[in-house]
Symmetry: C2
Subunit: 339 residues, 2 copies
């Protein structure tokens, strides 16, 4: 089996470190790993695969040095500039930023959902938005069996989605509370997040929706392959460190038995059904943290509309929502290339 | 003007203390106040209206001693037993528990919405569920002008809704985190609430919905006077001390201009429109705490369904969601009786 030269771009951020952890766990057939970062972190040492790696400075030349696969998680600007350069050198870029996701030439992939799109790549594959990925794993089997007519998302998103600075805002808020001090001014968020819910993630865009909300709408359509699917979203930051939770209301094209939906989800790849309300079992952010699966529960008929249901979907936004999904794309790509 | 003999039943709990605070602020035409509690708190002294009140033991005899108005906030069992006894003595009971809300002989009142129901009382008026009250203040003007076809609630509810023990669980969780200790076992909730979202409020009932969710469905229909209105809810506890937030998706009977909806809300009694996304202004739990109004924002067209919109609604669950609304019912009752 071929061995792959793998680059990790943005290896020192919150998601980047999670990339390294997931790579250690999943043991890809790697010939070598090279870790890249910007000027600020280049030259530092990172412990990875029981070895000390010196983080390299990302340059056009360095990223064109014959890599097979590059996992990018260094922000939109870096991806926009360096991903095409890496791709031109023959490397497959798996990009975690939002900048390529809606490009018609770039597949947007959740491996459990649309692995067939991987081979359509022209050098770049985009990793979807964290809040979209977890929903797709749950919605795709329902879409395939019953057809989805409409999706309404309300999210409860962890601060880790905003990186180390977001984590820091909640950390400092909790510590100030415990010490009896006033909540300090936030550094990442626009308002204190401790004991607050902020109904804004990313900047506002068309129709007074945030970009995060529009990502959920547009990426859901692209990944499920239904360009005009009816989707709406309200995205909210909550004072939770790890795991996004989502209240999802669905209207299906066809009638269903709720027990069939549960059985379908329980047997779907990457999904764990946690739905035993008699024993108070349902997905929780605290339980999903550090896991790779998407947890779903509270699956129940919504009698307010024909063929409708409600559910509660939880996943670790840094793992399945980012690093795990990207590494799974790499794994699936390798698998397909070796078939 | 007549002066009223007013009883406060359950004066020492979280909501009871809020009742006293709101009564101090709103200055009803009272001849006297008498504070009641159970055996546990009876005999203790409470500072109220700049005087020391000795809390009386609630007995059948004591509550029948000629009160005009009794504000009950002492749990369902106490209300079930003592409210009819007080009512029989000629007293109007305004009850904060859930036990009388769906009784067809008991008006369920939000004063901004259905004040006309007050005079239909037969001795008891029910104060709605906290998460329902705030939604009603916002939905009622829309219902009156456009007709509401369907409501989908996803809530973000504060721990104070679970009383002092709920507040304590979050307090201890935050302090343990700050001290670097493990999250302690919760005493009130089934799972730790610090940095978690718990998709269960109250016990599970029919169709795998929680009682809190069914309250939102049934109370919405009763208060808006549309017994078959299409309503569904997902109720979630979040790590916030004060104020419930709600993501509300509405489908209306008639077409609308979104700016008209905003103008309608801005001019509605008890509503504050906070909706200036260019300047990142929207309702926040932290801002709504200790306020009596209902704050609404993120009002925007939902293009996933005809005549639909999304909004974000926030209010202090102990004030407008409980104590303020009950005292407003008393005020409106007094006003109507003196007309």
């Amino acid at each position: 089996m071929k061995k792959y030269k793998i680059a990790v771009v943005g290896a020192t951020g919150v998601v980047g470190r999670s990339f390294l952890k997931v790579l250690e766990e999943r043991k890809l057939p790697a010939e070598s790993y090279t870790l890249f970062a910007s000027q600020r972190s280049a030259g530092s040492t990172v412990r990875f695969m029981d070895e000390d790696y010196t983080v390299q400075l990302l340059t056009e030349e360095a990223i064109s040095a014959g890599f097979d696969i590059a996992l990018f998680s260094a922000g939109g600007e870096t991806s926009k500039h360096y991903a095409p350069i890496a791709a031109k050198s023959g490397c497959l870029v798996i990009d975690n930023s939002s900048c390529w996701r809606m490009d018609p030439n770039v597949p947007l992939v959740v491996p459990e959902v649309n692995p067939q799109d991987i081979l359509k790549h022209k050098g770049i594959i985009a990793n979807p938005n964290c809040s979209t990925i977890q929903a797709m794993v749950v919605l795709s089997p329902i879409q395939k069996k019953y057809g989805i007519k409409r999706v309404i998302y309300s999210t409860y998103q962890a601060v880790s989605g905003a990186g180390a600075a977001g984590i820091n805002d909640l950390d400092e808020g909790a510590k100030a509370y415990a010490a009896g001090r006033e909540t300090p001014a936030p550094k990442k968020f626009d308002y204190p997040i401790f004991c607050n819910c902020i109904p804004q993630i990313d900047v506002f865009d068309e129709d007074d929706y945030t970009k995060e909300e529009l990502k959920m709408v547009n990426e859901t359509r692209k990944i499920l392959g239904v360009p005009d699917m009816a989707v709406t979203a309200t995205c909210v930051r909550v004072p939770v460190f790890a795991s996004h939770s989502e209240s999802i209301n669905l209207t299906l094209e066809n009638p269903f038995e709720i027990e069939d939906i549960k059985a379908l989800l329980a047997s779907s790849e990457g999904v764990v059904l946690v739905d035993d309300v008699k024993n108070k079992k349902y997905p929780l952010a605290a339980d999903a943290a550090d896991k790779d699966e998407v947890f779903v529960g509270r699956v129940r008929i919504d009698r307010s509309c024909e063929n409708s249901l409600n559910m509660w979907c939880v996943a670790d936004n840094i793992r399945k929502g980012a690093a795990t999904n990207a590494v799974q794309i790499a794994q699936k790509y390798i698998e397909l290339m070796n078939k």
